[in-house]
């Protein structure tokens, strides 16, 4: 695995801002996100609910509808800025160059058509092949995602297939056109762990063999550790840390990343329950300075006043924290996440 080779960058998100204009106020769902996605690699986009990870993915494909609006930034594929393209041009990119799979596969499929017809329709629209040929290709595609008895399953309706099976159909449709990039938005949330493991195997295998770039959105650090090459951590609409999987797990720099790793319960080792105090902030009224400061056990006055810049924390490892940039000199102790003082601070 070579890191940081800029020739391998497939897609670059720069200063992406997507706001939602609601009656309550402006929700700054994505607020200056920036990261790169590399060919042949799986990049994990991690954050809690409301951190802006799904909206980031939808913004890449210009799928944000009112009251949401992409108000700034660039999504660069080579020299091309996707955000500058019109809907018609975008339609050529979706599904062909960049495809996406979603969290609830059964909702993403049309309930009144057999899955085979839905796959065939995509193929015919995309490649203009005959009905018969499309049907045969649909069967082949179902076989390629390890669906048993594909000749019979092409005639099945989504409700006749299990959740794991539906997600396989979605993967087959998404990967069918050999896209340059696959966006997977929590594709295994709601699936059982044994089924999840098989779906993840399938995604890994398909992405690796086709050298597709993949943006994998999840809140589960376990999945990230097993699947991804790079990680982008988001908090309150901003990227707070990004780097390789090894860097993020072995030497997390941002207190939020650290807290997230510490508070993830594990089945393999004994460790006390840890938590991050407080709650994810209201996206309409974000805290001043660093958005994480009200929950950060290391916060000082500077964190409240000034938003930290993204600084290098090593080779290809970046974090947005005043401690990393040495403007605050403090040692981040891991024990703080399990201490009763932090816990009792509560919500």
């Amino acid at each position: 695995m070579d890191h940081g080779n800029s020739a391998d960058v497939l897609l670059r998100v720069q200063d992406l801002r997507t706001y939602f204009y609601t009656y309550q106020g402006i929700v700054q769902a994505v607020n200056g996100a920036a990261f790169s996605i590399y060919r042949g690699e799986i990049t994990g986009l991690v954050g809690e609910s409301g951190s802006g990870k799904s909206v980031t993915a939808l913004s890449i494909l210009q799928l944000v509808g009112p009251p949401g609006k992409i108000i700034g930034g660039e999504v660069l594929v080579g020299e091309r800025n996707l955000l500058a393209l019109g809907q018609a041009e975008m339609q050529n990119i979706r599904g062909r160059e960049i495809s996406m799979i979603f969290q609830e596969p059964r909702l993403a499929l049309n309930p009144v058509f057999p899955v085979g017809d839905q796959i065939a329709r995509v193929l015919r629209l995309r490649e203009g092949i005959s009905k018969r040929e499309a049907r045969q290709r649909a069967i082949d595609m179902l076989r390629s995602v390890e669906i048993p008895d594909p000749e019979r399953r092409v005639r099945a309706y989504p409700h006749e297939l299990s959740g794991g099976m539906c997600q396989r159909v979605m993967i087959a449709m998404a990967m069918g056109a050999n896209p340059k990039m696959l966006i997977a938005d929590e594709p295994t949330t709601g699936l059982d762990v044994t089924v999840q493991a098989l779906v993840l195997d399938l995604i890994r295998e398909r992405v690796r063999s086709a050298r597709t770039a993949c943006l994998f959105i999840t809140h589960d650090l376990g999945i990230v550790a097993e699947l991804c090459d790079r990680i982008v951590i988001m908090y309150a609409g901003r990227v707070v840390e990004h780097g390789t999987v090894e860097d993020i797990f072995c030497s997390p720099c941002h207190p939020y990343t650290q807290g997230l790793i510490e508070s993830t319960l594990r089945v393999d080792i004994e460790k006390p329950i840890a938590t991050i105090p407080g709650v994810v902030p209201d996206a309409i009224r974000l805290p001043s300075g660093c958005a994480f400061h009200p929950r950060c056990p290391f916060a000082e006055a500077l964190c409240r006043e000034e938003e930290p810049a993204m600084v290098s924390a090593g080779d290809n490892h970046f974090a947005r924290c005043h401690i990393v940039s040495n403007r605050i000199s403090k040692k981040m102790r891991k024990e703080v996440w399990t201490s009763p003082v932090t816990l009792e601070a509560g919500e």
């Binding site: 993840l200 195997d201 319960l265 329950i273």
Partner: protein
């Protein structure tokens, strides 16, 4: 040995009749011959994948749904025999916390009214005493008095679940059934709720039945674990026995499928089960795992298998554990079928 059972479930069975056509009906056996003992003040974790019947067990124990057969004891009362008026009275002693706190709290009631409701139903306290108790509950679960006048949608998911817990403990229950209490919550909040549940257990001597599909949560909260598959208990034992020495192929597959948040453990060995959980309608006799199990043999099709003891506290429903199978042989078969995680 475990202490004496406080909650005892014996041979619990629950059948649902489902429509398969205009006039045809089929039997869905959601829970089949489940027996559990929970000593006072401890937690039993009920794990399994969706559709395995774990929630049905929880609801049957509280008699929110009527079990088809089997006995349920709470302390010295046989819950399964109680008439409706007696059942109403014992409900104060057994409560439930639901999965989705946003959906389980009435949106039209203020938090104060929500907390008063169980007191109205189950106690004869005066209005003043109720008010005191509501404030006491708020403090117990870590909420502020100014929350009383707010509505559930005005507070966060973690706080909603705190209200759900406060409602459950309002009447000083003995048993609380926790049905996936943390699965709707973010990772950073989950720990706060688990800590709260464990503190309340210690302070009030609560007995928990903890239903979850998340093995990491179960590991951190339970003394005993029962693993369910297709309505039956596949393996039951102390937490350390289940995690350090899982014997049933299903338990091993389940444990090895949980992603580990440590990139250095990539490529760990995994036991893969082909296919998916079949429907619980018309399950043939014999081991329910038979079609997916890599070690199946003809004997697995015989009715059963019963729970074979591995230790006084650890029992496994797998024919491989029968005494005439050598433990070595079993271990070898199990190890030979582990598949390295592909990368």
């Amino acid at each position: 040995m475990l202490a004496e059972a406080f909650v005892r479930v014996q041979h619990l069975r629950k059948d649902f009749q489902i429509r398969t056509g205009l006039f045809s009906r089929a039997i869905l056996r959601a829970v089949d011959d489940v027996s559990l003992d929970i000593p006072k003040g401890t937690t039993l974790g009920l794990v399994g994948e969706s559709g395995c019947g774990k929630t049905t067990v929880g609801r049957c124990i509280l008699r929110l749904i009527e079990p088809t057969s089997g006995q349920i004891w709470l302390d010295d009362k046989e819950v399964s025999q109680l008439q409706s008026d007696e059942l109403q009275r014992i409900r104060a002693r057994m409560q439930m916390v639901f999965q989705d706190p946003g959906a389980s709290l009435t949106p039209r009631m203020t938090i104060g009214a929500l907390l008063r409701e169980p007191l109205d139903l189950h106690t004869d306290l005066t209005a003043h005493q109720k008010e005191t108790r509501v404030r006491e509950l708020l403090q117990l679960v870590g909420l502020q008095p100014d929350h009383l006048k707010r509505y559930p949608h005005q507070v966060s998911g973690g706080q909603q679940q705190r209200i759900g817990i406060a409602r459950a403990i309002a009447t000083y229950p003995d048993l609380v059934v926790l049905d996936e209490p943390t699965s709707a919550l973010d990772v950073s909040i989950r720990g706060q709720i688990l800590k709260l549940l464990m503190r309340l257990q210690e302070e009030m001597g609560l007995t928990y039945l903890f239903i979850s599909h998340d093995l990491s949560v179960i590991k951190h909260t339970c003394e005993q674990i029962a693993v369910m598959y297709l309505g039956r208990i596949a393996e039951i034992g102390r937490t350390d026995e289940i995690f350090n020495d899982p014997r049933h192929p299903y338990t091993r597959a389940l444990l090895s499928a949980v992603p580990i948040p440590d990139p250095q453990q990539r490529g760990k060995m995994r036991l893969k089960l082909p296919g998916e959980v079949p429907s619980a309608v018309n399950v043939p006799p014999g081991c329910p795992l038979y079609p997916r199990c890599p070690f199946h043999c003809d004997e697995c099709l015989e009715p059963g298998p019963p729970l074979f003891p591995v230790s006084p506290t650890h029992k496994v429903a797998c024919i491989l554990l029968r005494s005439d199978h050598f433990p070595q042989e079993e271990a070898e078969i199990l190890d030979s079928s582990l598949v390295a995680n592909q990368h």
